[in-house]
């Protein structure tokens, strides 16, 4: 228990697999890509990371205590510092007391430690109406995109930040995961400034997973803004399951992704632009992230700058009404969604009205991710014997971190 996988003081780069046990791992940036004006994707090598699935997330330490040691040779005196807090004891007077601390450089990070309060953090949060619902968004933050309602107070991020896994691959026997972020506060600012070779501490994988469609099923992957990343991982998982089953009644997946405007679309466009306007909701193989898994996409922008003009939820509705109309198709379809809360609520309605199963990955302000801080509560309909119901009410709180983040659309009351 806990003997492997956790980072010791000197094992930042040597975290080993701990079977199925989750833990804390060193994650080294191997690639950084600007996806659009605001979103970036980091690919991390995470040796030993236990198995994960779409919907799950990692808690990423976004401050200088544990991280950002680009170019520091292992074995140097300050190559450790994996102990949170070790870098920020300003009140130690080496000349006082019976002992002196050896002089050494502080291993504090390059980024996120500027000590500067950026008022745009708060504004950025208010204005982060990313995703298909555009003007409806704002308050809830972005779906597991590292904000979770926490990411605005400076000068340095204290808690970890949760990020949905956006994809995973094994390269040369080492697990690699993709995380997609958007700079909305001190934590994500720190992350956005990481470069290749930098290391951060990640904890996980945490949370539950999307239930994949059954054989011959149809997955409709509806993502808005920073709710898009788990949909990429979901597309990957569906493709891998199909490959595993070698063409036996394969599942189909179609991605629906929305952004305010094309400059904020956190995806790689590969041509074959759809006709702009509110008529073209035909899926096209024009998004690199989805095309890689054989998944066509319907892209919407609120301003019509690329693809369907309007909300992604409207494009979804049009598609469903055109193509998923008979009972058999509705039975084998599952709508998956992650993004701004108003968008997800709308998707929930659209699915319920048509009797289509719906799985929703929620976002909530979250400190621990491990079920201990009890902060990420969300109301569900079903009285659950394992959860305290509000007296006289037919709902109860469940935790987004351990009961979720994926909930059934039938249960979720928000």
């Amino acid at each position: 228990m806990g003997e492997t996988g956790r980072l010791g003081k000197s094992e930042m780069a040597m975290a080993t697999t701990a079977g199925s046990s989750r833990g804390i791992y060193a994650a080294r940036v191997v690639e950084r890509v600007e996806l659009c004006r605001e979103h970036f994707r980091l690919r991390f090598a995470v040796p030993g990371l236990p198995a994960s699935g779409p919907g799950q997330f990692l808690q990423v330490q976004c401050n200088g205590d544990v991280t950002a040691r680009r170019g520091v040779q292992a074995g140097g005196e300050d190559s450790l510092g994996s102990d949170a807090g070790e870098g920020h004891e300003f009140d130690w007077d080496p000349s006082a007391g019976p002992m002196r601390r050896a002089g050494r450089a502080e291993a504090s990070g390059r980024a996120g430690a500027s000590g500067r309060l950026d008022p745009s953090d708060g504004l950025g949060r208010l204005g982060q109406t990313v995703g298909g619902s555009g003007s409806l968004g704002g308050l809830g933050g972005v779906g597991l995109g590292g904000s979770m309602g926490l990411d605005f107070d400076g000068p340095a991020a204290f808690l970890r930040r949760p990020f949905s896994i956006a994809g995973r691959m094994e390269l040369d026997g080492v697990s690699h995961v993709d995380l997609i972020g958007r700079e909305v506060g001190v934590g994500t600012r720190f992350l956005s400034r990481l470069g290749v070779g930098d290391e951060v501490s990640v904890l996980g994988p945490l949370g539950n997973r999307f239930r994949l469609p059954g054989a011959n099923g149809i997955g409709l992957l509806v993502g808005g803004g920073v709710g898009i990343p788990p949909m990429i991982y979901l597309a990957q998982a569906i493709a891998e399951l199909n490959r595993l089953e070698a063409g036996e009644r394969p599942r189909r997946a179609i991605a629906f992704s929305g952004a305010l405007t094309v400059d904020l679309l956190a995806l790689t466009r590969t041509g074959n632009a759809p006709r702009p306007g509110p008529t073209d909701f035909d899926p096209r193989y024009n998004i690199g992230e989805f095309d890689a898994f054989g998944v066509p996409a319907v892209i919407s922008t609120d301003d019509g700058s690329w693809g369907w003009k309007g909300f992604v939820t409207e494009a979804l509705e049009r598609y469903l009404d055109a193509w998923i109309t008979d009972q058999a198709d509705r039975q084998r379809a599952i709508i998956y969604t992650c993004g701004p809360e108003p968008m997800m609520k709308r998707v929930q309605e659209i699915a319920a009205r048509r009797g289509i199963a719906c799985q929703i990955a929620v976002e909530r302000a979250m400190a621990c991710g491990m079920g201990t801080c009890q902060s990420c509560c969300i109301r569900v309909k079903k009285p659950d014997p394992a959860r305290p119901p509000m007296p006289g009410e037919s709902w109860c709180y469940r935790l987004a971190c351990t009961d979720g983040p994926v909930f059934s659309g039938d249960d979720l009351l928000w």
């Binding site: 806990g2 804390i24 102990d83 949170a84 601390r101 204290f158 491990m370 201990t372 305290p388």
Partner: protein
């Protein structure tokens, strides 16, 4: 390679010298000087995958109340500079389900278990304490007294008379196990409530609980917490907690022979040593667990190294060894 621990490389260190880190907490022996803070570590085994719980001095459960509580509406937490606010509202499964569902897990806990009890009346506290005090694996009780009393609205932990009466009543139902009282810092003079707790029969004191605080969304002009105010924890409060531990130690606890558990922003072994020098026999780690559940283990390692390098055979001999000039 131990740069984290290089307190003084010029001192000759013999790592084979064993350091006694054990703590006598009012008769309860802890192998390590580190405990968890109630409310930051779940009911039992939530962190089992992330750290080795046998390396803890003691595990302190989340607050248990007589009846289930769903807790406050979200938003329940806010990050602040070097800390966080929480207003969870004592969300917990209640005594009956705690006994059914959580105690079997606690029976497998590889370190001593202390159950934290909260309530809104003396009767609540007594009944809940009596309900858990007889369980073999429960080695001590910690009282969360930072709740308002339903009968008069006064907070137990901030009213010395009420506090003394409460502890006297509760101690009657836990005569043979240590009763630890967790003090609120939201008082004029914490040594006064400490004295009242000891007079009431507290066997040990833990301090401090969180500081009442708030955070405002200036764009919405609304409090960020649904509960308006919450409790501030994390490194931001450590220097204040340290001063309070030292005050209680010097004014009350030392002479009364009552051990203190220092808590409030403990995140590093240096923090722990500060609390010990200030008068704490053990430390408890809370908010830091959210970031790294293995923090207590690392702190114990660092504390041991500090003891070796300073020539101390035991941590106990450092308790209260703060030298105040003049």
């Amino acid at each position: 390679m131990m740069s984290q621990l290089d307190v003084n490389p010029s001192v000759d260190v013999n790592p084979s010298v064993d350091v006694d880190l054990s703590v006598d907490l009012a008769g309860l022996r802890l192998g390590m000087p580190t405990m968890t803070c109630s409310g930051t570590c779940g009911y039992a085994l939530e962190y089992a995958e992330f750290t080795d719980l046998s390396k803890l001095g003691a595990f302190v459960t989340k607050s248990i109340t007589l009846h289930e509580r769903p807790g406050n509406q979200p938003q329940r937490i806010v990050e602040t500079r070097a800390g966080m606010l929480n207003a969870i509202g004592l969300a917990n499964v209640g005594l009956a389900r705690f006994l059914d569902e959580k105690v079997p897990l606690l029976e497998t806990m590889p370190c001593p278990v202390i159950v934290n009890v909260a309530g809104h009346s003396v009767d609540d506290y007594v009944k809940t304490t009596a309900g858990v005090a007889g369980i073999a694996c429960v080695r001590g009780i910690e009282l969360n007294v930072s709740c308002p009393n339903v009968s008069d609205g006064l907070t137990f932990g901030t009213n010395p008379k009420l506090l003394k009466e409460l502890i006297r009543e509760v101690k009657g139902s836990v005569p043979d196990k240590p009763l630890i009282v967790k003090l609120s810092p939201n008082v004029e003079d914490i040594s006064v409530t400490a004295e009242a707790a000891i007079a009431g029969g507290a066997n040990a004191l833990s301090l401090v609980n969180t500081f009442t605080a708030m955070s405002i969304d200036i764009y919405k002009r609304k409090p960020r917490l649904a509960n308006v105010t919450g409790g501030l924890s994390g490194p931001a409060i450590k220097p204040i907690a340290l001063a309070m531990v030292n005050r209680v130690y010097r004014r009350v606890a030392r002479d009364a022979g009552v051990p203190l558990v220092g808590m409030g922003g403990v995140q590093t072994w240096q923090d722990a040593i500060e609390f010990v020098l200030a008068g704490a026999s053990a430390v408890a780690i809370g908010t830091a667990l959210f970031i790294d559940p293995s923090t207590p283990e690392r702190i114990s390692e660092g504390v041991a190294e500090y003891c070796r390098k300073s020539g101390s055979k035991s941590l106990a001999e450092l308790v209260g060894k703060l030298e105040i000039p003049g």
